[in-house]
Amino acid sequence: MDNESQYSGYSYKSSHSRSSRKHRDRRDRHRSKSRDSSSRADKSVTIQAPGEPLLDAESTRGDDRDDNWGETTTVVTGTSEHSVSNEDLTRASKELEDSSPLECRRFAGPVLSGILGLFALLTPLAFLLLPQLLWRDSLDPCGTPCEGLYVSLAFKLLVLLISSWALFLRPPRATLPRFFVFRCLLMALVFLFVASYWLFYGVRVLEPRERDYRGIVGYAVSLVDALLFIQYLALVLLEVRHLRPAFCLKVVRTTDGASRFYNVGHLSIQRAAVWVLDHYYTDFSVYNPALLNLPKSILSKKMSGFKVYSLGEENSTNNSTGQSRAMIAAAARRRDNSHNEYYYEEAEMDRRVRKRKARLVVAVEEAFTHIKRLQDDEVAASPKHPREVMDPREAAQAIFAPMARAMQKYLRTTRQQPYHSMESIIAHLQFCITHNMTPKAFLERYLTPGPTMQYQRENGRGRQWTLVSEEPVTSALRQGLVFSLRRLDFALVVTVTPLPFFNLGEEFIDPKSHKFVMRLQSETSV
């Protein structure tokens, strides 16, 4: 891949976003120095401008990028919240064991909030039980009012439990670089609250061995009420506030310019980044580095016009920089026909793709006519013509052979062959046969580059993305904010604009007011 893509240094730098340029420039300076030295030592025929490969040296190389595209280590977790019941704690710990190469940091947040929530839920019960256990005999008997309070306490606890399970108990989706402000706030609030209740309980009830049991029950019920209100606050802050759209995010992929617009509500930058990534994986077509470069036949023509022979000078170091600059200037002044070639090359490429696609479609249609589903009633007729009955996998393998060549050629022309191995094609074919799909449905996967989600392998390890931003990432979105989400070889640049304010007016139209006339110049009735 390195020697295929030779760009001049200028175009490489200008294609990257402002915010990441600082990092890039530092690294690029190192690298360009080393390259220049190597080209200076090259005393023979052609001069090449100090070009840089499109990818960093640190990013995965072309060959093995095909296999583990998009996968590096990951550290990600949770925007989930508040309280977790016991069984989910065990479920969380089991998850930890399954995907072992994960870091534990992924679950630190949810586990902590789970423990806190559990503690908060058990506190009222503790408040009720401790007097009974410790000084049962000296308690005032408490009749009907207490029973009413018991029932309401039980139901409120049940409601708290169920709503926490429904709302907050979700597997973590992403690790945010900074603390999630609202969640920390709520956890602190809950902790403070429960702690102060315990404090008062300890001082007013446990110490003097309070005898008014009804008061104690009332105290516990008030705690549960307050917990319900905190949960309402959590619901509003975490779930509801960001539902109403307020900003429009424009997401552009830096390598090929694919862009989308999304509407989001009031979020912090890091939460908006997670939201954008959620939608990136299903909306954007997959990033295919092989489709990016202009064919080198077009670009290298600019440089290969001049040949320079250095006639035996030993100290040509100074001269060659001057020479290469002169070459570049001269090449730029030459009449530039590369747009013409680009146009014809594109037309030729289109034609080639269409031809291969036509061949593929015909081959697949023909292949699908070779098999048909065996109906149940035909089994009885089989003693006459014993046909070999196949399961889907064998059927897929049987009809794969005639279409394999056309498929391979098509994938190679559209540069998709890293994404589809022969095994995956046969598996997909088997899937389509099982579900009675037509050849067109089978081909849907190959004719258009699908969203990135389609090519994800199933494993628990996540994706590593870096959030690059000039503002602190916990600040809220506002107009004119720009941040980018960077991966190793491409980035998504996100621009924030507020949604416009609409002044909606009203106009009433009487249904009887729709009248029409012929557009003749004059019409007279006689």
């Binding site: 110049q521 007279t524 006689v526």
Partner: protein, 118 residues
């Protein structure tokens, strides 16, 4: 050869108060813009066309239809007249009956089709 199929329609004027009305509206004329005529096949045709027939009026009863081209009124030619002249010829107070020679597009088409079958 071209034969125009035409129909003769006789309309009895209806007296409404002080006026004698026929119950339809006309458009067209040599002083009008012929390209805005929706009924003519040839957009350069500056003849007089029936643009509206009032329901239940004398014209409808007599068989006049919207889109008909009026060729003659009581013997007077209407293919090369101005709009106002046409109106005057139709609304003569002394005449109770107008005899129109009209041509209708659907008639022409059926003629053309029957001619093509031979």
């Amino acid at each position: 050869f071209l034969s125009l199929f035409q129909q003769r329609i006789e309309i009895q004027k209806l007296r409404e108060g002080d006026n004698l009305i026929l119950g339809f509206s006309i458009g067209g004329g040599i002083d009008q813009d012929a390209s805005q005529n929706p009924f003519s096949e040839d957009k350069a045709d500056k003849g007089i066309y029936v643009t509206r027939v009032s329901k239940g009026g004398p014209a409808e009863v007599a068989g006049l239809r919207i889109g008909d081209k009026i060729m003659q009124v009581n013997g007077w030619d209407m293919t090369m007249v101005t709009h106002d002249q046409a109106r005057k010829r139709l609304t003569k107070k002394k005449e109770d009956v107008v005899r129109l020679l009209i041509t209708r597009k659907s008639l022409e088409e059926t003629v053309r089709q029957s001619m093509m079958q031979h």
